[in-house]
Amino acid sequence: MDPIILSRLQFALATFFHFLYVPLTLGLAFFIAVMETRYVRTGQEIYRAQAKYWGRIFLINFALGVVTGITLEFQFGTNWASYSRYVGDIFGSLLAIEATAAFFLESTFIAVWAFGWNKVSKKVHLTAIWLVSGSGLMSALWIILANGFMQNPVGFKFDPAGRRVVLESFTAVLGNPYGWGMYFHTVFGAMLLCGFLVMGISAWHIFRRRNVEFFHKSFKLGLCFALTFSILAGLAGHQLGQITAEYQPAKLAAMESQWETRTNAPMHLLVIPPYDDREENLVEELPLPGLLSFLATGDSSSEVRGLKSFAPGDRPPVWPVFLSFRLMVALGTLFVAVSVLAALFRRRIPELRYSLLLFVLMIPLPYLALELGWAVTEIGRQPWVVYGLMRTAAAGSPIDWYQVAGSLVVMGGVYTVLTVLGFFLMGRAALKNPGDYDAGGYDAAQGGA
């Protein structure tokens, strides 16, 4: 067995599990911060109860994010030693800054928030959740800028000794357009995921006719998130597509399964990519003239590079990238449609019956869309670990395959069990009544932790 393949599987496993929790942490922190701000401003207990109710789900989710995240930072060293040596000068510093400048803040103030309901003043408590929200968004920025360097290496020069690249311009690394493009798309996606989760859980309670007033309030703020951010995520995704066209044309060609280089390139609604060595699509029907060129560059007559213009060894795998991308776009369109629909009916939500279940069914879809988005980004980057600079095949560690196989199996097992347990507990917390969180005893002492 090849340790590289196993290491890739392990990295994919760890990141995909981790990313089941990251978006909700980002979204719900912001959501709770808004609710608690309303509480501090108006003094109405219902907003305090909102913060506590959603906080319970948030804290379980956060803990799972922490425990799945810890492997990631170390995996670059354990499994990708050559990569770490080669780009550590730039990549490592971004990770270190993330921990020092953002993650400390998040971890410390989440405890102040969770355990401090009766120990700090209202304003300090509110500040704590805003700090959690802000530092989470900062964390995401540093990590995605680090990832951005892998997608579009900038601001570096080759070390005279030749065994690594070193930082030339920190501002170029921080201003990496690819990183920023991914950042906005990811963060907006995280917020829309939170919106749909809140709508889904609230819809269930309203459907059961329990605490309707309470959950109608949650629903409306969730809807506000879902509508705003599904549109913004779409726009940011379009922006990211253009950035990809500019910096990673091979990825864009794989996303569209575009084999020929052509100007005025159409987008085909129905495409079946080849499953063997053939260099053309099996089916290519329903063209929308010039649309691909227009989407990629803003000019329908511009040239779009096809996969054939890249050596076979430089092409990403087409099927997974193509399918993930199509499905993500379809889901994104659905999110906008459902949000718009919900917005039209927003006042009548408490009167709805079975149509409320639509929102419950929507809950898993943003999770799927976000994971698919990362699949496009990371599989589409192949065969490079750092685009154009270092191949994945050359990035590994001098380790034995059975070491990786062992850790892969154990990590896969543990993460699966923890995730099942975690989602079960979040579901259980979601099904409780908001009033349950203001009772005395242990929960109250922990502020719902």
């Binding site: 799945t68 800054i97 850790s407």
Partner: protein, 341 residues
Amino acid sequence: MEYLGDVWFIVWGLLWGIYFALDGYDFGIGLLAPVIGLSRTESAAMHQATGPFWDGNEVWLITAGGVTFAAFPVAYAVLFSSLYTPLMLLLLALILRGAAAEFRHQFQDGRWLFFWDLTLAGCGFLAALLLGVAFSNIFRGLPLDADQVFQGNILNLLHPYALLGGLLFVLMFVYHGAVYLAEWVTGDLSVKAALAAKLSWPAFMLCFLLYVILTFFWVGFWDRYLASPLMFCLPVACLAAFLASGWQLYLTGHLKKAFLYNGLGIICLALTGVMGIYPNLIPSRLDPLGAVTIAKAASSPKVLLIMLVVAIIFVPAVIAYQWWAHRRLAEKIHSDYYLKA
């Protein structure tokens, strides 16, 4: 710009030391939970003592790891790929520890609580042991060939000296946790924790002295320290801090001071070890050419400088707000507290 690598070398040791001094008490309390937290309310109180803090403490590990990556990428690559399996086990322990902290109180079922208590104790033990074994192996030198490729296996890492280091970390953290617990809980549990501290301190000190003697005279720190004798103030400060901690525990009963002195001692111990391998980050006991030195491992001066600015701004800030958060959140925990639930 030569000094930048040295500055980061010291910061590197300091960050690991702070991590041990902070997460050490979490591990120790986790380890003690099934031993002295005999009733359901007592073990719950023990969890509550670390509940708000373990995550913030763990970030020091993320930072220490991140700084290893940022300041010394080669050391990060060689160290973590060489110690692949022990590091994965450490991560597993940390994963389950975090899960235990969040999942344990979700059900008040006896078997559920017992399961997570045992998990937490096992994780505390494993994490302490692995950290001790790993750092002892670094002090002793890893079997690296001239290309800095690890030529050993997990059995070489479990050398008696390394196992003694592991035992030292376990005892040190048990003592550290016991003192912390004795300070922050009340009643019988506090008495039991203080007793655990008093019983573990002599074993910890014995192990410490044996470990230091071996480290200086068998591993060879003595010669390196003789080269710049000023460094001897580190092990001396370490010993003095541990003795002061014992003094506070046995003679004055001032537990907070006993805890702080012990934390100081742990930081000095980490620095003692790290300064003993200077200018190596990872000595090699196979081929001296394979040693990962500061010069070979350091990032470019530009990165080291940027990182230094970041560290100078943020690390004191982190210490300040974590201190503040601890003052606001920590309170004496009564182990009858939960009976209300």
